[in-house]
């Protein structure tokens, strides 16, 4: 008898807790940590030397990927002997602005730009899809993103995107890893402070694909997520994972309005 009462009480407790949690999280679901006039790109927090390298297109190592991407974009490939440029007009203008809206919904799924490129390779050009973090995909995505340089980030979280947005938001605030850290603890609450030698930024992704000097390589948004996961000693997810896309959507939305800066340069 006592046991039944006890478990009933426990049930009520759990239930009311859930109700409460629901209420709190719905309340400020669409609140952003930074207002539009407070948004600052990662470049603002990086060192002057690094920023100078980013600004100078002759020095910026990320431009190598942009150039390689431009060549690939215009190269005829596959049995159809087609190039991306065949479909996307000769002067490339057709894809200008496109990068500002990714990740976006495609056939009920949220996909990012690298995945979209792979779909074109596979479905429109009869080529084998490439690894998302391969040189070819990152070159094409760097080039296509570069076409939108200076245009404001503008992802949509309406309609079908909303549930992915909510998932992404949840992931952003979830404490993970042996260090038990969540993204917001560093990028909402500690921006401007130093984590050892590193000045913490607001954690935006308007500079991706981004050239990381420590790896002497270009990195996708998902690669950067893996790196932050490593630092919290959390299990990283696979590049292209649905949860990383959801997280990418939340972070992109939180920075909507920031001009695209890819290829950015970071330490």
């Amino acid at each position: 008898m006592f046991l039944i009462v006890k478990s009933l009480l426990a049930l009520i407790l759990v239930f009311s807790y859930n109700l409460f949690a629901e209420e709190v999280s719905n309340f400020d679901y669409f609140e952003k940590p930074y207002k539009n006039n407070e948004l600052k790109s990662g470049a603002y927090f990086s060192r002057e030397e690094t920023r100078d390298i980013e600004k100078d297109e002759f020095e910026n190592p990320g431009m190598i990927w942009v150039e390689r991407g431009s060549e690939l974009f215009n190269k005829k490939m596959g049995i159809k002997n087609n190039s991306c440029a065949n479909c996307h007009s000769q002067d490339n203008n057709y894809l200008k602005g496109v990068a500002t809206s990714y990740p976006k919904i495609h056939q009920n799924k949220l996909i990012n730009l690298e995945q979209k490129i792979n779909m074109c390779l596979e479905n429109k050009m009869n080529l084998k899809p490439e690894l998302l973090e391969s040189n070819n995909i990152l070159s094409l995505s760097s080039f296509i993103t570069y076409l939108s340089k200076g245009l404001p980030m503008n992802v949509s979280i309406k309609g079908e995107a909303e549930e992915f947005f909510k998932r992404g938001r949840q992931l952003y605030f979830e404490r993970i890893g042996q260090m038990n850290l969540a993204c917001n603890q560093c990028h909402d609450n500690l921006a401007g402070n130093y984590l050892r030698a590193e000045k913490i930024s607001q954690g935006h992704i308007n500079g991706f694909p981004s050239y990381l000097m420590r790896w002497e390589n270009i990195a996708s948004v998902h690669r950067r997520f893996q790196f932050c996961n490593n630092q919290a000693r959390a299990e990283p997810l696979e590049i292209g994972h649905a949860d990383y896309n959801a997280l990418q959507l939340y972070i992109a939305w939180r920075g909507n309005g920031l001009p695209l800066e890819s290829p950015s340069v970071r330490r």
Partner: protein, 150 residues
């Protein structure tokens, strides 16, 4: 040769398994402190200093610390200069073992805890960041930091 490596691999897995299931030392929290030592041995002050200033404790990621010759010191937490003056050994022990008791939102990790964690990397699963003895070593050195001078 093949059999030998197999045996070694099995042994390694077994040892890992035993380690992974090792229970953490239990402790009582009294007046926002942990009065009893987690081990039977005194803290080794020199080893404590090494842990704090090296990647092992990685305390410099967030704190400024006296005699940290490293010019790269974080400023997320308070400076640890004079921390031995501000707190007793028992209070320092709680701050390392479980800072969430004092501040549930703390960015400082609990250095001796394996509970309630999500998605921990395989390499670190079921292991505390520092061992019980390492905690004792660290707090014995922190307690020597008596002045505010860097």
């Amino acid at each position: 040769m093949y059999i030998k490596t197999l045996i070694i691999i099995n042994l390694l897995i077994f040892i890992n398994f035993v380690h992974a299931n090792e229970e953490l030392v239990s402790y009582d929290i009294v007046d926002l402190s942990i009065p009893s030592s987690l081990t039977n041995e005194d803290g080794d002050i020199k080893n404590g200093r090494d842990i704090v200033l090296s990647r092992r404790g990685n305390c410099l990621a967030c704190h400024k610390i006296p005699s940290g010759n490293d010019i790269f010191q974080g400023n997320i937490g308070p400076s640890l200069a004079g921390v031995g003056n501000r707190y007793t050994i028992s209070e320092l022990r709680l701050r390392l073992v479980n800072p969430y008791v004092l501040n549930p939102d703390s960015v400082m990790p609990a250095f001796y805890n394996v509970r309630g964690l999500k998605r921990v990397d395989k390499k670190f699963r079921e292991k505390p960041i520092l061992t019980a003895q390492e905690i004792e070593d660290v707090i014995s050195w922190l307690f020597t930091l008596k002045t505010e001078e860097m």
